[in-house]
Amino acid sequence: MADQSRKQKGISSLLKPYAGMVGLLLLFAVISNGLNLWLPKIIGSGIDAFNSGNFSPKHFIRLFAIAVLIIFVFSYLQNVIQTYVSERVARDLRTKLADKISSQSYSWVEAANPAKLLTNLTADVDSIKLFVSQAIVSIVSSVFIIIGVTVLLLTINWKLALAVIAVIPIIGITFFFVLKNVRKLFIKSREVMDWLNKVINESILGSALIRVINSQQLEYEKFLEANKKALGFGLSILRLFAALIPVITFTANMAGLAILALGGHFVINGSMTLGNFAAFNSYLSLLIFPIILIGFMSNVIAQATASYQRISTVLETTETTGAGLITSKISGDIEFKDVRVTYGEKPVLKDISFSVKAGSKVAIIGPTAAGKTQLLYLLTGLLKPTKGAIFIDGHQVEDYKSESFHTQVGFVFQDSIVFNLSIRENIAFSNTVTDESLEKAVSTAELKEFINGLPARFDTVISERGANLSGGQKQRIMLARALAINPVILLLDDFTARVDSSTERKILANVHNNYPNITLLSVTQKIASVEQYDQIILLMEGEIIASGTHNELMHSSPEYVQIFNSQQSTSNYELQPH
């Protein structure tokens, strides 16, 4: 319960910056609702006046019309403010979330799950928006009306009033029990919906595979299973509501009956006027709706609270980056010292130590899942070592200020990541890129011809996930992106996998000529392209099996020789002069 109140406080604290607008909103709501309470009174006294023969239509119409007009103006204003406040809360919350997420580390984002973060930014923000736009005003004005009606009824006839007011606790308690169960079901149905959405998402992202395998039916069955569950939960929730609403109506009708039987008695024995009797009926209808509204809004609040909690955990995480202060220019000496990385129980890298001299070229080769990519991730700070440290120019990677560090280390990722932006924006992705360095990067990556052949050249927009580019084109754009920052250290992750040999050869020669002092770390499968490198590191199952130059390894490492032989026949051809 204490926990509950903390959460509640959380979501209302969200409104603090908008206190002025919320206050205005509530003020307008109270004014229009207050006047609404007055209307049955005007009608009642009109009937009484008519009954006693001194009814003045002019006075009555004027009074009524003024009240109605004021209600109109204020409820319209209330609605306008409501829209602005809720949208502003949503917008600011999204900005806050985006700021927070954007200052987190990669491993944090991976752990938090990008899909969940997307939900935080969309569905969760929406449910909070609903809370602001509907729940706050509804609850405040409902409470106001309930209290107002109660007071008015009591002043008219307290005995009859007590009979009518009895509906409040009855309806309240029914709501409490039903909603408690509904909420449990909601949580479960939400899980089913997540599952359902996952099936949809995977069927969209894997659409090509599904068509190649002709597994549409299989996907449909998966979906059907989830959808059936969703239907089941929908129906269970429905059954609860099906019980709730009739009970409320029945209770309200009973109150109406009480007014008739008891009120009729009072009118007959003269202790109540007919006008007041009519007013009682009108007030009853005014009373029921707010009670129902509070009930439904408690649901909106519960959902918003859950959403806000999820958002809060994101907003409250401590920033995982930005501790480093070193901004000096690096020269490129790299050292790994006893670096261990574990995912859960499983070690990915086991006490790796090696060093790379500035300006030298180093290749990392090894089988799939040996931990090669992780080595590069460690160097860029995308991954933190579980144990040990990585030094660049004698300082730990995390001691560098990321702004200056990342403009000196270029990374070409293994998987093609291009953004739905123009080619220029994709290549000049870092904002330190000048036209000159862009030009140099593009020609180094052998992209000039390709880009010039495009209708809009550099301004051609790449479609989402680069669907309009070939694998090699994407790869070369990624290389150009990394080179465009004029990096001191260049990290290539299996760069040549999707680029044909002749282009690859040209590109590597270009890199050598255009960026002569660059420190190059290349994860690769092809020995032929790295034979001349200063150092080749052979990584297997997270351990360095051997390291040295090509010639050294050919003499010392049987594993290396095996890899070499596996590529030998081809290398002969590749070395053929032409």
Binding site: F64, R91, T122, I200, D494, A497, T503, H578
Partner: protein, 588 residues
């Protein structure tokens, strides 16, 4: 065929609410019986709640005013019985009507998903995944909210309103007509403003969809954002779409805001009319006080649901806007239809695959393949080499019929490839895609994905099969073997591991033709040797098409095709191909 859903100009004319509703109602024809029962319950319930005020008015006139308390008690008793019946009817109405809503939603979701499964790859390439996902998730959710929360209220409101309207007119025509004048104004006002409101909401929905696509693009590629120190990029792009979504949401919100206060205003006006005109009629002797009290109640019964309808109308419009966007998908049809067998059949023996004057272009782009004529024979190994962007993947996609040629024909075993059913064709042709895709689940689930033959095999049996196919070494890179859990996104599995799974998956399907589109690009060469050994040991009638940059993977090919600038030409010997590759002028 153009499948782009967001392209301006391609969009259909905006459908009216009514026709959107009609097409939606087609989905629920099975529910007729339940709908009828629900309507019956709704009618009973409404009749009871509507006759309540009348009976109360009658009691006031005949017993309260005449001071006969027994009559008051008698009618109280009658009302009590009625209310009890109402209790039951109202339970039934919610249960039945809500059931209809839930089942409709279920049918609808199935229809959408089914449609998605029937659309070709082109559809997914032409639309942003983020936008599609949002369209399907959030738009069905809008419908969900409508069906599970608003539909019942919507129907009961209409029924109650109609009933109350009838009562108003039956009790006193003149007063009734006067009381309904504001309702007419509401009707006209709503009709005039609805299209505008709907448009605003549609624009809003679209920007919201754009925003989720934006977020997905950025969060999904977070490592690039970090490595290039462009955290501001994420912020800026989100800020931009956030701002857009804010402006359009405000515009939609303000449009939606118009209705409720206006309805309230007019319903109060109706009360005023009833009172003043009613009093005038009573003074004239045409009406009674008791009737006036019940009349006021009927006016409330008429205008309260009307006000509710205003709120529901917004939901309804939202749901219809969502439905419009979904209907756009539902109205699309696959252009990859199965055609009847054409008797142009070539004499046997036919090639396994033959391209006849094949041309291909993607919508809105230049022609990618020009007049391709090639033959692939059974049991041989073919290699497609050539520079990046030359058309290798496109050629392979045509063989697997992910697309149809724009011109020309592709023959499979001498028959038009389009005359095979999907099941037949995919059974014969295996295609390992350039970008491997995994489903959330275990390695086992992924390698048996869509495999009818081994689907029910236990781990032991499956391991035996894997061993027979020489695949067991490949599984050793997974910590828990077959039971290793994998996720489609993220870095829990390396690209090389994904390619291994895709490889095993395709080989276990035992296709007649296996296409490898740079399928081993990120696998180390030692393992790759193993893979090519596995390929060699496939049944000898299996045809292999290998697309690769690494030359060692293609050196054993029987024939090499050089694919460049939209032409596919036989390259002759391996060294000849190499020469072409090394000297070839690239035209992209």
């Amino acid at each position: 065929m153009n499948y782009n859903l967001t392209k301006p100009g391609v969009q259909k004319e905006k459908t009216s609410t009514l026709s959107a509703l009609k097409s939606l109602l087609k989905l629920i024809t099975d529910e007729k019986k339940n709908l009828l029962l629900a309507l019956l319950a709704i009618l009973t319930n409404s009749a009871i709640s509507l006759s309540g005020p009348f009976l109360i008015g009658y009691t006031i006139d005949n017993y309260v005013q005449k001071k006969q308390y027994n009559g008051v008690l008698l009618f109280s008793g009658i009302l009590l019985v009625m209310y009890l019946v109402g209790l039951a009817a109202s339970y039934l109405q919610t249960n039945l009507m809500g059931g209809v809503g839930q089942r409709t939603l279920y049918t609808l979701r199935n229809a959408i998903f089914n449609k998605l499964q029937h659309l070709p790859v082109a559809f997914f390439n032409q639309n942003k995944a983020g936008d599609l996902i949002s369209r399907i998730n959030s738009d069905t959710d809008k419908l969900n909210q409508f069906f599970s929360q608003s539909l019942l209220q919507f129907v009961t409101s209409i029924v109650t309103m109609t009933g109350a309207g009838i009562f108003l007119l039956v009790i006193n025509v003149k007063l009734g007509l006067a009381a309904l004048i504001p309702a007419m104004m509401i009707f006209i006002f709503t009709r005039i403003l609805s299209p505008w409101v709907k448009k605003k909401n549609a624009i809003k929905l679209k920007t919201v969809g754009g925003m989720s696509a934006e977020i997905q693009d950025s969060i999904g590629n977070f490592k690039v954002i970090i490595a290039f120190n462009r955290r501001d990029y994420f912020r800026k792009r989100l800020e931009e779409s956030n701002r857009k979504s804010y402006t359009t949401s405000i515009a939609a919100g303000l449009a939606n805001t118009i209705f409720p206060p206006f309805y309230e205003f007019l319903s109060s006006a109706a009360q005023l009319i009833v009172l003043t005109y009613g009093v005038y009629l009573i003074a004239d002797g045409q009406f009674t006080i008791g009737l006036l009290v019940s009349y006021l109640a009927y006016a409330t019964y008429f205008y309260n649901p009307l006000r509710q309808l205003a709120a529901l109308w917004v939901n309804f419009q939202l749901a219809m806007a969502g439905w419009d966007r979904i209907a756009e998908i539902l109205s699309l049809d696959s252009d990859l239809i199965t055609v009847p067998v054409n008797d142009l059949i070539i004499k046997t023996p036919a090639s396994l695959i033959e391209f006849r004057n094949v041309h291909f272009k993607y919508p809105d782009s230049q022609e990618i393949l020009h007049n391709i004529n090639i033959k692939l024979e059974k049991g041989k190994t073919y290699a497609f080499v050539g520079p990046t962007g030359g058309g290798k993947t496109t050629t392979a996609s045509l063989i697997a019929r992910l697309y149809d040629p724009t011109k020309g024909t592709i023959l499979l075993n001498g028959k038009d490839i389009r005359s095979y059913s999907d099941a037949e064709r995919t059974h014969k042709i295996g295609f390992i895609l350039q970008e491997p895709f995994l489903f959330t689940g275990t390695v086992k689930e992924n390698i048996l994905y869509g495999n009818d033959r081994y689907n029910n095999y236990s781990n032991e049996k499956l391991e035996r099969v894997i061993k027979e196919a020489n695949l067991e070494k490949l599984l050793s890179v997974f910590d828990n073997g077959l039971e290793t859990f994998v996720l489609p996104g993220g870095d829990s599995v390396s690209l090389g591991q994904k390619q291994l799974i895709a490889f095993i998956r395709a080989v276990l399907r035992k296709p007649e033709l296996l296409i490898l589109d740079e399928a081993t690009a990120n696998i180390d060469t030692v393992t790759e040797k193993l893979l090519s050994k596995i390929l060699d040991e496939l049944p000898k009638e299996t045809t292999r098409v290998i697309i690769a940059h690494r030359l060692n993977t293609i050196e054993n090919a029987d024939e090499i095709f050089f694919v460049n600038s939209g032409e596919v030409t036989p390259a002759g010997s391996f060294s000849n191909a190499l020469d072409k590759l090394l000297n070839g002028v690239r035209v992209s």
